[in-house]
């Protein structure tokens, strides 16, 4: 059964929206084409989760936000994301669909690094964006949500690191849905050219516990030959936001894409993280942790596809489920024919904190090549009573012991986030969600 998702936004609206943003013509045409296709494409069907009744159509498409001249002028809820004594040099703050603050160090500018909002990128680096935008990672016509994303894209960032440039300090983006009803059709495009490296960290947040809206977010991450990308992300949309979050990577020869993702949304969420290891010897470590609470339903798919010889993929998914939250964790390691000596490892673990919480870990290995290694570990269970006993035998209360075990369980992502303040902020979110 297909639920008709009637959109309040038509061709004329999108045409005008694109013109208002001074977008290149190819982009306007791409949007219109996507809108047309959206009508006939089906919704995605995440394994074992029915999303037919989720809200993907009720939202306000766009809203502006006030810019600030100094970081100190940002509201206090955003201050948590910065180290107080170490101001970020390279930062993009998007407030609704306006840039509230943007900075990039002169050093990086001189080296040709681009770190800007997506609309500026379309105007100033249109050809570069065109080369990668929904080309090699995510396709516009995969299903209705990708098409709608392409048609309605209303924010995001473009990160470009030229050949042989190493970016040693993290690039940080904060996407703040300040208006409780506004949608986030955010598109982040990260391209690292040959022999380059970078660290990028993004945060999403909103406060619409009651007002309904939609986040349809795509990140495309491209690591060229011998490029190295550390990608950190913390999603924290409030209960009213239905989220579709698609982060996808493509790594060429000797390329590395490491993901550290904190999936902390409070609303229904489809979270998809797929990496294609195209080149020989390419590597991806894809780690996601999440906490589910209330009545939210979530579906996580972490998938790494090994195409290249000696390519190496490792998936880790750890989820904590409480109250009546439910989540499916699909871990898929796929080794294509010809990917000799590829390695596909995965670990999915779910910790249940209440009787009514539901969690399911589905490890899947799809292997079309003989000379490979692969492995998986999956578990769904409660906090280990022997671990509790051990910690309590040192005087630690049961509550505190459980807290330590849960934070430890989620540490693989927390510890990997490269910005101390973002790490602390995720720890606070976990603390708030679990207790």
């Amino acid at each position: 059964m297909t639920v008709v998702t009637k959109l309040p936004y038509d061709k004329d609206y999108i045409d005008q929206f694109s013109k208002d943003k001074n977008e290149p013509e190819w982009m306007r045409n791409f949007r219109l084409q996507a809108l047309e296709q959206a009508e006939s494409l089906n919704m995605p069907e995440p394994d074992k989760t029915k999303i037919g009744r989720w809200n993907f159509s009720k939202f306000k498409h766009t809203a502006t936000g006030e810019a600030v001249t100094a970081l100190e002028d940002l509201p206090s809820e955003l201050q948590d994301f910065f180290d107080a004594d170490k101001k970020p040099e390279n930062l993009l703050v998007q407030r609704n669909h306006s840039v509230a603050y943007a900075s990039l160090s002169d050093d990086l500018k001189e080296k040709g690094v681009i770190f800007t909002d997506i609309f500026t990128a379309l105007r100033e680096h249109g050809d570069l964006v065109k080369k990668y935008y929904m080309q090699d990672a995510v396709s516009m016509d995969e299903h209705r949500l990708t098409a709608l994303h392409a048609a309605l894209m209303n924010g995001g960032a473009f990160v470009y690191v030229p050949k042989n440039v190493q970016v040693d300090v993290p690039l940080q983006a904060i996407f703040w849905q300040e208006d409780p009803e506004v949608s986030m059709f955010n598109h982040v495009l990260v391209v690292a050219e040959e022999n380059s490296s970078l660290t990028y960290v993004e945060n999403y947040l909103s406060h619409n516990d009651n007002e309904e809206t939609v986040a349809n977010v795509v990140a495309e991450v491209i690591a060229k030959e011998n490029a190295n990308i550390d990608f950190g992300g913390v999603d924290n949309f409030a209960a009213g936001t239905t989220a579709y979050n698609n982060r996808r990577g493509v790594a060429y020869r000797d390329g590395v894409i490491d993901w550290a993702l904190g999936a902390m949304n409070d609303g229904n969420t489809v979270n998809e993280n797929i990496t294609h290891l195209i080149g020989d010897n390419s590597v991806s470590n894809a780690k996601t942790v999440s906490v589910g609470r209330g009545k939210q339903t979530q579906n996580f798919t972490a998938k790494i596809v090994n195409h290249g010889l000696d390519s190496d993929g490792y998936i880790l998914q750890h989820g904590v489920m409480k109250e009546q939250a439910s989540a499916i964790f699909n871990g898929i390691g796929k080794i294509e024919h010809g990917a000799t000596r590829a390695n596909a490892e995965q670990e999915s673990r779910v910790l249940m904190l209440s009787e009514k919480a539901r969690g399911d870990a589905n490890p899947i290995l799809l292997i079309d090549e003989d000379d490979v290694t692969a492995g998986h570990a999956a578990s769904v269970g409660r906090v280990d009573p022997m671990q509790l006993y051990y910690l309590m035998s040192r005087g630690i209360t049961e509550e505190e012991a459980e807290r330590l075990i849960i934070h430890g369980f989620l540490a693989p992502v927390v510890n990997q986030l490269p910005i101390e303040s973002v790490k602390q902020q995720l720890t606070q979110i976990i603390e708030r969600k679990v207790y």
């Binding site: 051990y390 035998s393 005087g395 630690i396 049961e398 934070h407 540490a411």
Partner: protein
């Protein structure tokens, strides 16, 4: 006050409906070192776990008191805060929790809120104890017991003992898996704890450990009971002659639990 007193009376313990301990009486006072010896399968570790409150062990009869307080009425963490400590034979691995963070939580658990140990003081104490036990400092930043070798786990248990400074400690087979050098180092650490305010129960089936930590009292366990008690000379005789003579003396054929004399 000269230390605490742990008083175990007529203790009967079952696990999964099988009775393991069949009436153990033992009193440990501050300043005293007791050794409980005996072959495998005689109930020694059950005694240790039952005192600490292991969730799988059920006390069916008897009592445990610490300074007159009913230990069996206490939760595991309350027992620890009351002054009991168990160095475990198989400590759990806690992924994602560093040894250092865990130790600080454990130390602070005993202190009042607002009176937490200052960070610098904690680090200083931890570092000097790590040195005393010849443990690589990076253990503090490793996840608790995760990927530790058998010997590292034992040293970590003693590290905890020395930092938490309990009134009464039970060391369950702390010598197993330790080579002779490690055994000497660990023993030195335990001997440093000796004072009027510290009582210790050492569980082992080798006399070897007792060459380095001299007990004041030695007890032999068989069939879930203490069948013989004496001074350090008892341990030496066991080392020289084994357990057979006790079995003969008491008419025991099979010393393990589940058999009756």
């Amino acid at each position: 006050m000269a230390g605490s007193t742990l008083e175990i009376k007529n203790l009967h313990v079952t696990i999964e409906d099988k009775e393991i301990l069949k009436g153990v009486d033992l009193t440990i006072k501050g300043g005293e070192f007791h050794a409980v010896m005996g072959p495998n399968g005689t109930g020694k570790s059950t005694l240790a776990s039952a005192v600490m409150g292991h969730p799988k062990y059920e006390i069916t009869e008897g009592s445990i008191h610490l300074d007159g307080e009913d230990v069996l009425e206490m939760e595991v963490d309350e027992r620890a805060r009351a002054g009991l400590f168990l160095a475990m034979q198989y400590p759990s691995e806690i992924s994602g929790v560093t040894t250092s963070d865990f130790l600080r939580s454990a130390i602070n658990a005993k202190r009042e809120e607002g009176d937490e140990i200052p960070l610098m003081k904690f680090i200083k104490e931890m570092d000097s104890t790590l040195d005393a036990l010849e443990i690589d400092k990076n253990m503090a930043q490793r996840y608790l017991n995760e990927g530790f070798s058998g010997g590292e786990k034992k040293r970590n248990e003693i590290l905890q003992l020395m930092l938490l400074k309990p009134e009464i400690a039970i060391l369950d087979e702390i010598d197993s898996g330790l080579d002779i050098d490690a055994l000497k180092i660990v023993s030195k650490g335990i001997n440093q704890m000796r004072s009027e305010n510290f009582g210790c129960l050492i569980i082992t089936h080798y006399q070897r450990l007792l060459n380095y930590i001299e007990p004041d009292y030695v007890h032999v366990m068989m069939q879930g009971r203490i069948v013989k008690s004496g001074g350090p000379e008892l341990a030496q005789r066991l080392e020289a002659e084994g357990y057979e003579w006790i079995k003969e003396e008491l008419g025991i054929e099979d010393e393990t639990v589940g058999q009756n004399a």
